[in-house]
Protein backbone atom coordinates (compact mmCIF):
# COMPACT_ATOMS: atom_id res chain seq x y z
CA UNK A 1 0.00 0.00 0.00
CA UNK A 2 2.80 2.33 0.95
CA UNK A 3 4.57 1.51 -2.28
CA UNK A 4 1.47 2.49 -4.23
CA UNK A 5 1.05 5.75 -2.34
CA UNK A 6 4.71 6.59 -2.82
CA UNK A 7 4.52 5.92 -6.51
CA UNK A 8 1.40 8.04 -6.73
CA UNK A 9 3.19 10.91 -5.04
CA UNK A 10 6.18 10.42 -7.31
CA UNK A 11 3.93 10.56 -10.33
CA UNK A 12 2.53 14.00 -9.63
CA UNK A 13 5.51 15.79 -11.15
CA UNK A 14 5.37 13.82 -14.35
CA UNK A 15 1.58 14.13 -14.31
CA UNK A 16 1.84 17.91 -14.08
CA UNK A 17 4.32 18.01 -16.94
CA UNK A 18 2.02 15.97 -19.14
CA UNK A 19 -0.96 18.10 -18.14
CA UNK A 20 0.82 21.33 -19.12
CA UNK A 21 1.95 19.93 -22.43
CA UNK A 22 -1.47 18.45 -23.18
CA UNK A 23 -3.27 21.70 -22.40
CA UNK A 24 -1.03 23.65 -24.78
CA UNK A 25 -1.31 20.97 -27.41
CA UNK A 26 -5.08 20.74 -27.37
CA UNK A 27 -5.48 24.50 -27.81
CA UNK A 28 -3.87 24.54 -31.24
CA UNK A 29 -5.34 21.15 -32.09
CA UNK A 30 -8.83 22.47 -31.47
CA UNK A 31 -8.53 25.86 -33.05
CA UNK A 32 -6.90 25.11 -36.41
CA UNK A 33 -6.92 21.33 -36.49
CA UNK A 34 -3.18 21.25 -36.03
CA UNK A 35 -1.54 18.03 -34.84
CA UNK A 36 1.57 19.88 -33.77
CA UNK A 37 4.58 17.60 -33.79
CA UNK A 38 6.76 20.67 -33.13
CA UNK A 39 5.17 21.36 -29.72
CA UNK A 40 7.94 19.32 -28.08
CA UNK A 41 10.54 21.61 -29.65
CA UNK A 42 8.64 24.65 -28.39
CA UNK A 43 9.23 23.23 -24.92
CA UNK A 44 12.84 22.36 -25.70
CA UNK A 45 13.71 25.84 -26.90
CA UNK A 46 12.30 27.21 -23.65
CA UNK A 47 14.48 24.80 -21.73
CA UNK A 48 17.53 25.80 -23.76
CA UNK A 49 16.78 29.47 -23.19
CA UNK A 50 16.66 28.79 -19.46
CA UNK A 51 19.88 26.78 -19.67
CA UNK A 52 21.60 29.66 -21.47
CA UNK A 53 20.56 32.27 -18.92
CA UNK A 54 21.13 30.12 -15.84
CA UNK A 55 24.29 28.19 -16.70
CA UNK A 56 26.11 30.15 -19.41
CA UNK A 57 25.22 33.64 -18.24
CA UNK A 58 24.67 32.66 -14.59
CA UNK A 59 21.71 34.95 -14.09
CA UNK A 60 19.26 34.58 -11.18
CA UNK A 61 16.67 31.80 -11.25
CA UNK A 62 13.69 34.04 -11.94
CA UNK A 63 15.44 35.32 -15.06
CA UNK A 64 15.84 31.75 -16.19
CA UNK A 65 12.12 31.17 -15.70
CA UNK A 66 11.31 34.28 -17.70
CA UNK A 67 13.73 33.19 -20.41
CA UNK A 68 12.06 29.80 -20.69
CA UNK A 69 8.64 31.32 -21.19
CA UNK A 70 9.87 34.02 -23.58
CA UNK A 71 11.92 31.47 -25.52
CA UNK A 72 8.97 29.13 -25.94
CA UNK A 73 6.59 31.91 -26.94
CA UNK A 74 9.20 33.25 -29.37
CA UNK A 75 9.70 29.97 -31.15
CA UNK A 76 5.99 29.22 -31.07
CA UNK A 77 5.13 32.49 -32.80
CA UNK A 78 7.96 31.96 -35.26
CA UNK A 79 6.65 28.54 -36.26
CA UNK A 80 3.09 29.89 -36.52
CA UNK A 81 4.20 32.66 -38.84
CA UNK A 82 6.58 30.64 -41.02
CA UNK A 83 5.15 27.14 -41.07
CA UNK A 84 1.44 27.31 -40.32
CA UNK A 85 0.09 30.69 -41.40
CA UNK A 86 1.00 30.20 -45.08
CA UNK A 87 -1.06 27.01 -44.91
CA UNK A 88 -4.16 28.55 -43.37
CA UNK A 89 -7.14 26.39 -44.28
CA UNK A 90 -5.04 23.40 -45.26
CA UNK A 91 -6.12 19.96 -44.10
CA UNK A 92 -4.97 18.22 -40.95
CA UNK A 93 -2.49 16.00 -42.77
CA UNK A 94 -0.75 18.89 -44.51
CA UNK A 95 -0.43 20.78 -41.23
CA UNK A 96 0.87 17.69 -39.48
CA UNK A 97 3.56 17.11 -42.08
CA UNK A 98 4.59 20.75 -41.82
CA UNK A 99 4.82 20.43 -38.06
CA UNK A 100 7.05 17.37 -38.54
CA UNK A 101 9.35 19.43 -40.73
CA UNK A 102 9.42 22.25 -38.19
CA UNK A 103 10.15 19.73 -35.44
CA UNK A 104 13.08 18.11 -37.28
CA UNK A 105 14.42 21.44 -38.43
CA UNK A 106 14.45 23.07 -35.03
CA UNK A 107 15.74 19.99 -33.24
CA UNK A 108 18.56 19.52 -35.75
CA UNK A 109 19.52 23.17 -35.56
CA UNK A 110 19.69 23.10 -31.79
CA UNK A 111 21.62 19.83 -31.71
CA UNK A 112 24.10 21.41 -34.09
CA UNK A 113 24.40 24.44 -31.83
CA UNK A 114 24.29 22.79 -28.44
CA UNK A 115 24.85 19.03 -29.04
CA UNK A 116 22.41 16.49 -27.67
CA UNK A 117 24.35 16.01 -24.48
CA UNK A 118 22.54 16.42 -21.20
CA UNK A 119 22.73 19.97 -19.95
CA UNK A 120 22.68 20.67 -16.27
CA UNK A 121 19.69 22.62 -15.01
CA UNK A 122 20.52 24.33 -11.72
CA UNK A 123 17.75 23.98 -9.18
CA UNK A 124 17.68 26.67 -6.48
CA UNK A 125 18.19 25.62 -2.86
CA UNK A 126 14.66 26.32 -1.74
CA UNK A 127 13.39 23.73 -4.21
CA UNK A 128 15.68 21.03 -2.98
CA UNK A 129 14.91 18.68 -0.18
CA UNK A 130 12.03 16.59 0.98
CA UNK A 131 9.16 16.55 3.42
CA UNK A 132 8.46 13.33 5.27
CA UNK A 133 4.89 12.25 5.92
CA UNK A 134 5.13 9.08 7.95
CA UNK A 135 6.88 6.63 5.69
CA UNK A 136 6.24 8.67 2.57
CA UNK A 137 8.77 10.95 0.92
CA UNK A 138 7.46 14.10 -0.73
CA UNK A 139 9.93 16.12 -2.76
CA UNK A 140 9.58 19.88 -2.34
CA UNK A 141 9.98 20.35 -6.05
CA UNK A 142 6.99 18.09 -6.68
CA UNK A 143 4.85 20.24 -4.39
CA UNK A 144 5.89 23.43 -6.17
CA UNK A 145 5.31 21.91 -9.59
CA UNK A 146 1.88 20.68 -8.57
CA UNK A 147 0.93 24.01 -7.01
CA UNK A 148 1.96 25.96 -10.07
CA UNK A 149 0.04 23.53 -12.25
CA UNK A 150 -3.11 24.01 -10.21
CA UNK A 151 -2.82 27.80 -10.30
CA UNK A 152 -2.02 28.02 -14.01
CA UNK A 153 -4.65 25.39 -14.77
CA UNK A 154 -7.31 27.38 -12.92
CA UNK A 155 -6.34 30.62 -14.65
CA UNK A 156 -6.32 28.91 -18.02
CA UNK A 157 -9.73 27.35 -17.48
CA UNK A 158 -11.11 30.69 -16.38
CA UNK A 159 -9.69 32.30 -19.50
CA UNK A 160 -11.14 29.70 -21.83
CA UNK A 161 -14.54 29.48 -20.17
CA UNK A 162 -15.32 32.99 -18.96
CA UNK A 163 -13.62 35.49 -21.24
CA UNK A 164 -14.75 36.78 -24.62
CA UNK A 165 -11.51 35.64 -26.25
CA UNK A 166 -11.90 32.18 -24.75
CA UNK A 167 -15.41 31.94 -26.19
CA UNK A 168 -14.05 33.11 -29.56
CA UNK A 169 -11.38 30.39 -29.44
CA UNK A 170 -13.96 27.72 -28.74
CA UNK A 171 -16.32 29.07 -31.40
CA UNK A 172 -13.46 29.00 -33.91
CA UNK A 173 -12.69 25.41 -33.01
CA UNK A 174 -16.25 24.56 -33.99
CA UNK A 175 -16.88 26.82 -36.98
CA UNK A 176 -14.12 29.30 -37.87
CA UNK A 177 -15.87 30.66 -40.97
CA UNK A 178 -19.01 31.68 -39.09
CA UNK A 179 -17.01 32.97 -36.12
CA UNK A 180 -15.39 35.44 -38.51
CA UNK A 181 -18.79 36.69 -39.67
CA UNK A 182 -19.64 37.44 -36.05
CA UNK A 183 -16.77 39.91 -35.88
CA UNK A 184 -14.05 37.62 -34.52
CA UNK A 185 -10.63 38.53 -35.89
CA UNK A 186 -9.61 34.94 -36.51
CA UNK A 187 -5.96 35.64 -37.31
CA UNK A 188 -5.52 37.56 -34.08
CA UNK A 189 -7.20 34.83 -32.04
CA UNK A 190 -4.98 32.19 -33.63
CA UNK A 191 -1.89 34.16 -32.63
CA UNK A 192 -3.21 34.51 -29.08
CA UNK A 193 -3.81 30.76 -28.99
CA UNK A 194 -0.24 30.06 -30.03
CA UNK A 195 1.05 32.45 -27.37
CA UNK A 196 -0.92 30.69 -24.65
CA UNK A 197 0.00 27.25 -25.96
CA UNK A 198 3.70 28.12 -26.10
CA UNK A 199 3.59 29.71 -22.67
CA UNK A 200 2.33 26.42 -21.27
CA UNK A 201 5.16 24.57 -23.03
CA UNK A 202 7.63 27.01 -21.51
CA UNK A 203 6.27 26.28 -18.05
CA UNK A 204 6.55 22.55 -18.83
CA UNK A 205 10.19 23.13 -19.75
CA UNK A 206 10.79 24.62 -16.31
CA UNK A 207 9.02 21.67 -14.69
CA UNK A 208 11.28 19.30 -16.60
CA UNK A 209 14.39 21.17 -15.59
CA UNK A 210 13.35 21.33 -11.94
CA UNK A 211 12.26 17.70 -11.79
CA UNK A 212 15.15 16.07 -13.68
CA UNK A 213 17.82 18.69 -13.06
CA UNK A 214 18.76 18.53 -16.71
CA UNK A 215 17.69 19.32 -20.26
CA UNK A 216 18.66 18.09 -23.69
CA UNK A 217 17.85 18.94 -27.28
CA UNK A 218 15.89 15.78 -27.92
CA UNK A 219 13.68 16.17 -24.85
CA UNK A 220 10.63 17.16 -26.84
CA UNK A 221 10.23 13.95 -28.79
CA UNK A 222 8.83 11.84 -25.96
CA UNK A 223 6.43 14.37 -24.50
CA UNK A 224 4.84 15.46 -27.76
CA UNK A 225 3.48 11.97 -28.30
CA UNK A 226 2.02 11.97 -24.80
CA UNK A 227 0.55 15.41 -25.40
CA UNK A 228 -1.13 14.22 -28.58
CA UNK A 229 -2.59 11.14 -26.91
CA UNK A 230 -3.73 13.15 -23.90
CA UNK A 231 -5.48 15.65 -26.19
CA UNK A 232 -7.41 12.88 -27.86
CA UNK A 233 -8.14 11.23 -24.51
CA UNK A 234 -9.42 14.48 -23.05
CA UNK A 235 -11.50 15.48 -26.06
CA UNK A 236 -9.88 17.55 -28.80
CA UNK A 237 -9.85 21.24 -27.99
CA UNK A 238 -11.06 20.69 -24.43
CA UNK A 239 -8.55 22.25 -22.03
CA UNK A 240 -10.07 20.77 -18.88
CA UNK A 241 -10.12 17.36 -20.55
CA UNK A 242 -6.50 17.73 -21.59
CA UNK A 243 -5.36 18.58 -18.07
CA UNK A 244 -7.19 15.59 -16.59
CA UNK A 245 -5.97 13.32 -19.39
CA UNK A 246 -2.40 14.58 -18.93
CA UNK A 247 -2.53 13.57 -15.29
CA UNK A 248 -4.08 10.21 -16.14
CA UNK A 249 -1.28 9.52 -18.59
CA UNK A 250 1.50 10.78 -16.35
CA UNK A 251 0.30 9.01 -13.24
CA UNK A 252 -0.64 5.90 -15.20
CA UNK A 253 2.69 5.73 -16.93
CA UNK A 254 4.60 6.07 -13.65
CA UNK A 255 2.53 3.37 -11.98
CA UNK A 256 2.87 1.12 -15.02
CA UNK A 257 6.65 1.43 -14.88
CA UNK A 258 6.66 0.96 -11.10
CA UNK A 259 4.79 -2.32 -11.26
CA UNK A 260 6.38 -3.63 -14.40
CA UNK A 261 8.67 -6.57 -13.72
CA UNK A 262 12.33 -5.77 -14.44
CA UNK A 263 12.53 -8.30 -17.24
CA UNK A 264 9.79 -6.44 -19.14
CA UNK A 265 11.38 -3.01 -18.81
CA UNK A 266 11.46 -2.65 -22.59
CA UNK A 267 7.68 -2.44 -22.59
CA UNK A 268 7.68 0.96 -20.87
CA UNK A 269 6.62 3.00 -23.89
CA UNK A 270 3.66 0.68 -24.40
CA UNK A 271 1.41 2.24 -21.77
CA UNK A 272 0.45 5.39 -23.61
CA UNK A 273 -0.27 3.44 -26.78
CA UNK A 274 -2.51 1.01 -24.90
CA UNK A 275 -4.44 3.99 -23.59
CA UNK A 276 -4.58 5.52 -27.06
CA UNK A 277 -6.00 2.45 -28.73
CA UNK A 278 -8.38 1.94 -25.83
CA UNK A 279 -9.90 5.39 -26.34
CA UNK A 280 -10.16 4.91 -30.05
CA UNK A 281 -11.99 1.66 -29.54
CA UNK A 282 -14.27 2.54 -26.64
CA UNK A 283 -14.73 6.30 -26.73
CA UNK A 284 -13.13 7.98 -29.75
CA UNK A 285 -14.53 11.40 -28.99
CA UNK A 286 -12.62 11.40 -25.72
CA UNK A 287 -13.54 11.50 -22.05
CA UNK A 288 -14.98 15.01 -22.26
CA UNK A 289 -16.78 16.94 -24.94
CA UNK A 290 -14.46 17.92 -27.80
CA UNK A 291 -14.65 21.49 -29.04
CA UNK A 292 -14.68 20.58 -32.70
CA UNK A 293 -17.74 19.93 -34.85
Amino acid sequence: MNYLLQQLINSLGWGSLNAMMAAGYTLTFGIIGLVNFAHGEVMMVGAMAAFLTLVIWELPFWVGCLAAVVGSIGIGLFIERIAFRPLRGAGMITLFITSLAASFGIRTLFIMLFTDKLKQFPVPKYLKGVILIGDLILFKKTIIILLITVVIGALLLYFVKYTKTGAAMRAMSYDPEIAATMGVNTEKVIVITFIVSSFLAGVAALFWGIKFGSAQCSMGVLLVVNAFIASVLGGIGNVFGAIIAGFILGVGETLFVAYLPDSLVGLRPLFVWIVFFAILIFRPSGLFRPNIR
Binding site: R170, I178, T181, M182, P290, R293
Partner: protein, 240 residues
Protein backbone atom coordinates in the same frame (compact mmCIF):
# COMPACT_ATOMS: atom_id res chain seq x y z
CA UNK B 1 -32.45 61.66 -42.72
CA UNK B 2 -29.99 59.79 -44.87
CA UNK B 3 -31.72 58.56 -48.01
CA UNK B 4 -28.73 56.63 -49.36
CA UNK B 5 -29.39 52.92 -49.48
CA UNK B 6 -27.78 50.98 -46.67
CA UNK B 7 -26.66 48.18 -48.93
CA UNK B 8 -25.97 48.45 -52.61
CA UNK B 9 -24.97 45.80 -55.12
CA UNK B 10 -24.12 47.09 -58.59
CA UNK B 11 -23.64 44.55 -61.36
CA UNK B 12 -22.07 42.19 -58.92
CA UNK B 13 -20.62 38.90 -60.13
CA UNK B 14 -19.46 36.27 -57.69
CA UNK B 15 -18.62 32.62 -57.37
CA UNK B 16 -15.93 30.18 -56.29
CA UNK B 17 -12.54 30.32 -57.96
CA UNK B 18 -13.10 30.42 -61.71
CA UNK B 19 -16.72 29.38 -61.44
CA UNK B 20 -19.09 32.35 -61.59
CA UNK B 21 -22.35 31.51 -59.86
CA UNK B 22 -24.17 34.84 -59.97
CA UNK B 23 -23.78 37.65 -62.46
CA UNK B 24 -25.01 41.17 -63.02
CA UNK B 25 -26.67 41.38 -59.62
CA UNK B 26 -27.96 44.86 -58.90
CA UNK B 27 -30.10 45.52 -55.88
CA UNK B 28 -30.28 47.74 -52.86
CA UNK B 29 -31.67 47.68 -49.36
CA UNK B 30 -32.84 51.03 -48.06
CA UNK B 31 -32.71 52.06 -44.44
CA UNK B 32 -35.54 50.44 -42.51
CA UNK B 33 -36.50 48.23 -45.44
CA UNK B 34 -37.13 44.50 -45.64
CA UNK B 35 -35.98 43.14 -48.99
CA UNK B 36 -36.38 39.53 -50.07
CA UNK B 37 -34.43 37.50 -52.60
CA UNK B 38 -36.42 34.52 -53.81
CA UNK B 39 -35.29 31.53 -55.78
CA UNK B 40 -35.17 27.78 -55.69
CA UNK B 41 -32.28 25.62 -54.59
CA UNK B 42 -28.83 26.20 -55.99
CA UNK B 43 -29.52 29.35 -57.99
CA UNK B 44 -26.97 31.39 -56.07
CA UNK B 45 -28.89 33.06 -53.25
CA UNK B 46 -26.42 32.00 -50.57
CA UNK B 47 -23.51 33.01 -52.80
CA UNK B 48 -24.83 36.57 -52.83
CA UNK B 49 -25.21 36.68 -49.05
CA UNK B 50 -21.77 35.17 -48.50
CA UNK B 51 -20.30 37.79 -50.80
CA UNK B 52 -21.90 40.55 -48.75
CA UNK B 53 -20.53 39.10 -45.50
CA UNK B 54 -17.07 38.96 -46.99
CA UNK B 55 -16.73 35.17 -47.01
CA UNK B 56 -16.45 35.32 -50.80
CA UNK B 57 -14.69 38.01 -52.74
CA UNK B 58 -16.72 39.39 -55.64
CA UNK B 59 -15.32 38.84 -59.11
CA UNK B 60 -16.63 42.12 -60.51
CA UNK B 61 -19.13 44.87 -59.83
CA UNK B 62 -19.62 47.03 -56.79
CA UNK B 63 -20.56 46.22 -53.24
CA UNK B 64 -21.38 49.17 -51.03
CA UNK B 65 -22.44 49.32 -47.42
CA UNK B 66 -23.23 52.67 -45.80
CA UNK B 67 -21.80 54.23 -48.93
CA UNK B 68 -18.48 52.49 -48.44
CA UNK B 69 -16.95 49.94 -50.81
CA UNK B 70 -16.65 46.73 -48.82
CA UNK B 71 -15.53 44.25 -51.49
CA UNK B 72 -12.44 42.42 -50.39
CA UNK B 73 -12.82 43.34 -46.74
CA UNK B 74 -12.44 40.41 -44.31
CA UNK B 75 -15.66 39.13 -42.71
CA UNK B 76 -14.79 40.28 -39.22
CA UNK B 77 -14.36 43.83 -40.44
CA UNK B 78 -17.69 43.86 -42.27
CA UNK B 79 -19.38 42.41 -39.19
CA UNK B 80 -17.87 45.13 -37.03
CA UNK B 81 -19.47 47.71 -39.31
CA UNK B 82 -22.87 46.52 -38.17
CA UNK B 83 -23.82 43.62 -40.41
CA UNK B 84 -25.53 40.73 -38.65
CA UNK B 85 -25.66 37.31 -40.31
CA UNK B 86 -27.84 34.25 -39.82
CA UNK B 87 -26.31 31.58 -42.09
CA UNK B 88 -27.95 28.87 -44.12
CA UNK B 89 -28.41 25.84 -41.92
CA UNK B 90 -28.24 27.96 -38.77
CA UNK B 91 -24.62 27.05 -37.99
CA UNK B 92 -24.84 27.89 -34.35
CA UNK B 93 -21.81 26.99 -32.22
CA UNK B 94 -22.95 23.60 -30.96
CA UNK B 95 -20.20 23.28 -28.38
CA UNK B 96 -21.14 26.56 -26.70
CA UNK B 97 -24.16 27.32 -24.56
CA UNK B 98 -26.96 29.60 -25.78
CA UNK B 99 -25.49 32.38 -23.68
CA UNK B 100 -21.97 31.84 -25.03
CA UNK B 101 -23.27 31.87 -28.62
CA UNK B 102 -24.67 35.31 -27.88
CA UNK B 103 -21.38 36.42 -26.33
CA UNK B 104 -19.66 35.60 -29.62
CA UNK B 105 -22.47 37.23 -31.60
CA UNK B 106 -21.88 40.42 -29.62
CA UNK B 107 -18.14 40.30 -30.25
CA UNK B 108 -17.90 43.74 -31.79
CA UNK B 109 -19.47 45.40 -28.73
CA UNK B 110 -17.03 46.85 -26.24
CA UNK B 111 -19.30 47.92 -23.41
CA UNK B 112 -20.55 45.38 -20.88
CA UNK B 113 -23.65 47.51 -20.38
CA UNK B 114 -24.69 47.46 -24.02
CA UNK B 115 -24.15 43.70 -24.09
CA UNK B 116 -26.42 43.28 -21.08
CA UNK B 117 -29.08 45.59 -22.54
CA UNK B 118 -29.05 43.81 -25.87
CA UNK B 119 -29.06 40.42 -24.18
CA UNK B 120 -32.19 41.40 -22.28
CA UNK B 121 -33.78 42.54 -25.52
CA UNK B 122 -32.98 39.14 -27.10
CA UNK B 123 -34.48 37.31 -24.14
CA UNK B 124 -37.63 39.41 -24.49
CA UNK B 125 -37.88 38.63 -28.19
CA UNK B 126 -37.04 34.97 -27.67
CA UNK B 127 -38.17 33.84 -24.22
CA UNK B 128 -37.42 30.24 -25.13
CA UNK B 129 -33.74 31.14 -25.42
CA UNK B 130 -33.78 32.70 -21.97
CA UNK B 131 -35.13 29.45 -20.55
CA UNK B 132 -32.36 27.50 -22.21
CA UNK B 133 -29.54 29.97 -21.82
CA UNK B 134 -27.19 27.56 -20.06
CA UNK B 135 -27.97 24.70 -22.40
CA UNK B 136 -25.51 23.45 -24.99
CA UNK B 137 -26.66 24.82 -28.33
CA UNK B 138 -26.34 21.49 -30.08
CA UNK B 139 -29.19 20.11 -27.99
CA UNK B 140 -31.71 22.74 -29.09
CA UNK B 141 -34.52 21.92 -31.48
CA UNK B 142 -34.42 23.19 -35.07
CA UNK B 143 -36.72 26.09 -34.33
CA UNK B 144 -34.78 27.06 -31.22
CA UNK B 145 -31.50 26.92 -33.15
CA UNK B 146 -32.98 29.25 -35.77
CA UNK B 147 -34.04 31.66 -33.06
CA UNK B 148 -30.55 31.47 -31.61
CA UNK B 149 -29.02 32.14 -35.03
CA UNK B 150 -31.19 35.22 -35.41
CA UNK B 151 -30.52 36.42 -31.86
CA UNK B 152 -26.80 35.85 -32.38
CA UNK B 153 -26.96 37.99 -35.51
CA UNK B 154 -28.99 40.69 -33.79
CA UNK B 155 -27.35 41.01 -30.43
CA UNK B 156 -24.70 43.44 -31.62
CA UNK B 157 -27.48 45.78 -32.81
CA UNK B 158 -26.51 45.70 -36.48
CA UNK B 159 -27.92 48.18 -38.99
CA UNK B 160 -28.38 45.37 -41.50
CA UNK B 161 -29.55 41.85 -40.80
CA UNK B 162 -28.81 39.16 -43.38
CA UNK B 163 -30.86 35.96 -43.16
CA UNK B 164 -30.26 32.87 -45.25
CA UNK B 165 -33.39 30.70 -45.44
CA UNK B 166 -34.55 31.14 -41.86
CA UNK B 167 -37.69 29.06 -42.50
CA UNK B 168 -35.92 25.98 -43.86
CA UNK B 169 -37.01 22.79 -42.18
CA UNK B 170 -39.25 24.48 -39.65
CA UNK B 171 -42.89 23.88 -38.80
CA UNK B 172 -45.34 26.49 -40.15
CA UNK B 173 -46.20 27.68 -36.67
CA UNK B 174 -42.52 28.35 -35.97
CA UNK B 175 -42.06 30.08 -39.32
CA UNK B 176 -44.98 32.35 -38.45
CA UNK B 177 -43.38 33.21 -35.11
CA UNK B 178 -40.10 34.05 -36.85
CA UNK B 179 -41.90 36.23 -39.39
CA UNK B 180 -43.59 38.19 -36.59
CA UNK B 181 -40.28 38.60 -34.82
CA UNK B 182 -38.59 39.89 -37.97
CA UNK B 183 -41.32 42.52 -38.31
CA UNK B 184 -40.80 43.53 -34.69
CA UNK B 185 -37.06 43.83 -35.29
CA UNK B 186 -37.62 45.88 -38.40
CA UNK B 187 -39.79 48.29 -36.38
CA UNK B 188 -36.74 49.13 -34.29
CA UNK B 189 -34.96 50.35 -37.41
CA UNK B 190 -32.98 47.28 -38.47
CA UNK B 191 -32.92 46.76 -42.24
CA UNK B 192 -33.36 43.18 -43.33
CA UNK B 193 -32.14 41.35 -46.40
CA UNK B 194 -33.82 38.00 -46.52
CA UNK B 195 -33.07 35.06 -48.79
CA UNK B 196 -35.84 32.50 -48.96
CA UNK B 197 -37.35 29.57 -50.78
CA UNK B 198 -40.58 30.00 -48.82
CA UNK B 199 -41.98 32.91 -50.83
CA UNK B 200 -45.21 33.16 -48.87
CA UNK B 201 -43.66 34.08 -45.56
CA UNK B 202 -41.03 36.30 -47.13
CA UNK B 203 -43.41 38.31 -49.33
CA UNK B 204 -45.85 38.80 -46.46
CA UNK B 205 -43.32 40.76 -44.47
CA UNK B 206 -41.18 42.42 -47.16
CA UNK B 207 -41.36 45.81 -48.81
CA UNK B 208 -39.53 44.75 -51.95
CA UNK B 209 -38.55 41.48 -53.57
CA UNK B 210 -36.36 40.09 -56.34
CA UNK B 211 -36.35 36.70 -57.98
CA UNK B 212 -33.11 34.91 -58.79
CA UNK B 213 -32.89 32.19 -61.38
CA UNK B 214 -29.77 30.58 -62.77
CA UNK B 215 -27.55 33.22 -61.23
CA UNK B 216 -29.42 36.22 -62.57
CA UNK B 217 -32.21 38.48 -61.39
CA UNK B 218 -35.20 37.65 -63.54
CA UNK B 219 -37.96 39.56 -61.80
CA UNK B 220 -38.39 42.25 -59.17
CA UNK B 221 -40.92 44.61 -57.71
CA UNK B 222 -42.73 45.56 -54.56
CA UNK B 223 -43.76 42.57 -52.47
CA UNK B 224 -47.39 43.36 -53.15
CA UNK B 225 -46.79 43.29 -56.90
CA UNK B 226 -45.07 39.92 -56.72
CA UNK B 227 -47.77 38.45 -54.51
CA UNK B 228 -50.37 39.43 -57.07
CA UNK B 229 -48.32 38.26 -60.07
CA UNK B 230 -49.76 34.96 -61.36
CA UNK B 231 -46.40 33.87 -62.84
CA UNK B 232 -44.69 34.17 -59.49
CA UNK B 233 -47.55 32.51 -57.69
CA UNK B 234 -47.27 29.59 -60.06
CA UNK B 235 -43.59 28.93 -59.58
CA UNK B 236 -42.76 30.09 -56.11
CA UNK B 237 -45.88 30.22 -54.04
CA UNK B 238 -46.54 26.55 -54.63
CA UNK B 239 -44.26 25.72 -51.69
CA UNK B 240 -45.79 26.03 -48.29
Amino acid sequence: MNSDPLLQLISLASGYGKKIIVRDISLHVGRGEIVTLLGSNGVGKSTILRTITGQIRPQSGRLRYIGRDISGLPPHQIASMGVGYSPEGRRIFGNLTVYENLVVGAYRLTSKQSFQDNLNWMYTLFPRLKERNAQEAETLSGGEQQMLAIARALISRPHLLLLDEPSLGLAPVVVQRIAETLLQINQTGVSIFLVEQNANMALEISHYALVLDNGRIVHEGSAKQLLEDPQIADIYLGFD
